[in-house]
């Protein structure tokens, strides 16, 4: 808890392996250790699926890009030099493949993949107002561009800093800050006063 009454998330999430542990996994993957690769896959599959659904929106394309990303990790793990975090390296591969996939396949007008987005499973006692806010947030996210959605999700869910996001998306750090600034403003506007009820 900080002086402003808000909890600041610690830098490392206990549920996620450390950078060192992931680096060791990558070393083993480069030696074609299938067990290490499976461990790495189980760490990254949910994270990449969530990241990619923001970028490509089609479930089948998410599977394809995710598999291609992990195949690239399997085949090129020896090229990872440790200059960046393993997560940055893997997400950057996924981003490049998603951009290519997006160029091949036009995005759908409607997104049938709601179940791969932020879960809206309501607690039994959750009220209609809370549900309305969740729906508003989901709708607002859907109206953002894929790159804006990706920056928002990499920040809020994946706990990545703006420098890492810039490296993943091959763009200047100021672009990341600007995308995040405008995305947050649009999310708040879309929820039109409702978010005050959260605070």
């Amino acid at each position: 808890m900080n002086a402003f009454g808000t909890a600041i998330r610690p830098r490392t999430d206990a549920a996620r392996p450390s950078k060192i542990a992931e680096g060791e996994l990558l070393d083993r993957v480069s030696a074609k250790d299938v067990h290490a690769f499976e461990e790495l896959y189980r760490i990254y599959q949910p994270r990449l699926a969530r990241f990619l659904i923001n970028l490509v929106q089609r479930p089948q394309l998410v599977e394809e890009v995710l598999d291609d990303t992990m195949m690239a990790v399997w085949q090129t793990a020896s090229s990872f030099r440790g200059a960046s975090k393993p997560s940055t390296w893997i997400f950057a591969i996924a981003y490049r493949k998603a951009v290519k996939a997006r160029a091949r396949w036009p995005m759908p007008v409607e997104d049938p993949q709601d179940d791969m987005r932020v879960s809206d499973d309501a607690a039994p006692d959750e009220g209609l107002q809370q549900q309305r806010l969740h729906d508003a947030l989901r709708a607002a996210m859907d109206r953002l561009s894929p790159d804006h959605r990706a920056v928002v999700d990499l920040t809020y869910f994946h706990d990545l800093g703006y420098r890492e996001i810039a490296e993943i998306m091959s763009c200047p750090v100021d672009t990341v800050k600007t995308r995040m600034f405008h995305a947050r403003r649009r999310l708040k506007e879309a929820m039109a006063g409702g978010f005050e009820d959260w605070l």
Binding site: V34, P46, A72, R96, Y156
Partner: protein, 210 residues
């Protein structure tokens, strides 16, 4: 609807931009100090920080199913396959691709690329370009390219197909490869290669066709 929040000054704008990463604990010391200095005097940013915290909570709670995906990928990596040791980068992957029976099912255009690539493999152990030294050289290369180190064989073949290039030699000691593109489409092919995410560098090495 309330008017969008506008930056009041540089300090406010900088702090507000950084608030999401302050809330997730992803700022370095100097950024964090900047935000905290501003927060002490800005009620708007204090409120915004509570919004950030709530957004973080909202973005949690996503757990897609994993097992079926692993089974699918496990089948792709073919555990019984012998992998080429020690040679990093794209050509090891392309070598694996050439050895797969599935190559026989590729379309004719793809086969053309693979056959040319196969020719290049005969010289993989040589540090020089085969095309520049052979007494009976294949088509001379006119573009030099370096692929990203994490590009796979599929990425390389996609890139070659998209640009209409053929692989005629390499790698050099700097992991560069020599490509051949039709002279009358060289500029477009080089532009396409340079725009490709899997290409680190692409440059023509002959004079522009007239």
């Amino acid at each position: 609807m309330a008017a969008p929040i506008r930056p009041l000054d540089d300090a406010h704008e900088q702090a507000e931009e950084l608030l999401p990463w302050y809330a997730t604990g992803q700022l370095n010391d100097s950024d964090r100090a900047l935000v905290e200095r501003h927060l002490t005097a800005c009620a708007e940013c204090q409120k915004q920080l509570r919004f950030e915290q709530r957004m973080i909570e909202e973005f949690q709670g996503f757990a897609p199913e994993v097992d079926s995906g692993w089974a699918r990928l496990r089948a792709r990596i073919e555990p019984g396959q012998r992998w080429q040791p020690a040679r990093p980068g794209v050509m090891r992957g392309a070598w694996d691709l050439l050895r797969r029976p599935a190559v026989a099912t590729l379309a004719a255009a793809q086969l053309a690329v693979v056959v040319l690539a196969g020719g290049a493999f005969l010289s993989l152990s040589k540090p020089e370009y085969r095309a520049l030294s052979s007494s009976t050289p294949p088509a001379a290369g006119n573009v030099i390219v370096i692929f990203r180190s994490d590009a796979t064989q599929e990425d390389v073949l996609d890139t070659l197909r998209a640009s209409g290039a053929s692989l005629v030699g390499g790698p050099t000691s700097a992991d560069a490869y020599l490509l051949r593109v039709p002279a009358n489409r060289r500029a477009a092919a080089v532009a396409r290669l340079q725009a490709d995410d899997d290409v680190q560098m692409a440059q023509p090495i002959d004079e522009a066709p007239r």
